[in-house]
């Protein structure tokens, strides 16, 4: 354990969180949990942006992180509305049972 925090610590945490989120998107069948995993991925990206913003000693990265948060809110609202409409029409929220456009 090093005595001081370096940017590498934060980059490593960001990478781990990104892997967890990608695993959730690729592996889970329940679409609500897939949307939650997308939030994890966006958070990993935000950690990276803030880290590099701190390295360069300016706040532009934090502004971009704020933009990502705004887009994440919009994405979640629209995604969940789509999910509710889908459940109303098809009666399922499992990713591999929604295959009308397959083949």
């Amino acid at each position: 354990m090093t005595a001081q925090l370096t940017p590498f610590h934060f980059i490593a945490v960001s990478a781990l969180l990104l892997v967890v989120g990608i695993a959730g998107v690729l592996l889970r069948r329940n679409l609500i949990v897939v949307l939650m995993s997308i939030e994890l991925i966006l958070n990993a990206v935000n950690i990276n942006l803030v880290t590099f913003s701190r390295i360069h000693g300016q706040t532009h990265g934090q502004v971009f992180a704020l933009m990502i948060m705004a887009v994440a809110v919009a994405e979640t609202a629209v995604g969940l509305a789509l999910l509710i409409a889908l459940y109303r029409n098809r009666g399922t929220v499992l990713a591999d049972e929604i295959d009308l456009l397959k083949w």
Binding site: Q4, F8, L17, R28, R29, I32, V63, M69, A72, T92
Partner: protein, 168 residues
């Protein structure tokens, strides 16, 4: 020493909460663990001196997005998902992405990049600096974000409402 311990604590919250979010069977339990993970990320923001993002994370994510998820869970009420398989076959892709990111981290570590601790430059407090950048250089992006949010609200209402039966 204290920041290092806090860092490991918040990282444990973020990553452990994320893993439990992905692996739990019940969607509500996943949502609760997502709260833990997002709180850990908020703590990491605080450690990096991004106080404004810390507050935004608490209000937007923990206050807003989690509420959306839990309301959606109540509306969908899909109990069959609890009793079926949780995972589908995507292990090769996940494993290859894991290997790729591990290789990149090892390359960064062996090259010694980003290994020097950063001393923050003296200047304005964080919220002031973010507001300066947001309302001067990124003003157009700021206004466009509000348009995106408005479009998302209208779209969510349109898609979430019950379809009216049309004549013919």
């Amino acid at each position: 020493m204290v920041p290092v311990l806090l860092f490991y604590f918040f990282s444990l919250l973020a990553i452990g909460g994320g893993i439990l979010t992905v692996t739990r069977r019940s969607v509500v339990v996943s949502g609760v663990w997502l709260i833990v993970s997002l709180l850990g990320v908020a703590g990491l923001f605080l450690l990096e001196g991004a106080e404004f993002l810390f507050v935004a994370q608490l209000i937007l994510y923990v206050g807003g997005i989690i509420l959306l998820f839990l309301i959606a869970v109540m509306l969908v009420n899909f109990n069959a998902a609890v009793y079926t398989r949780r995972f589908r076959n995507g292990w090769p892709a996940v494993l290859s992405i894991c290997l790729l990111l591990a290789a990149e981290l090892l390359a960064l570590l062996s090259a010694g990049r980003f290994a020097a601790p950063v001393t923050p430059a003296p200047g304005l407090p964080n919220a002031d600096a973010v507001a300066d950048a947001l309302l001067s250089k990124y003003l157009v992006a700021f206004e466009l974000a509000s348009v995106v949010l408005l479009a998302a609200v209208v779209g969510a209402v349109l898609m979430g409402q019950k379809r009216k039966e049309h004549a013919s």
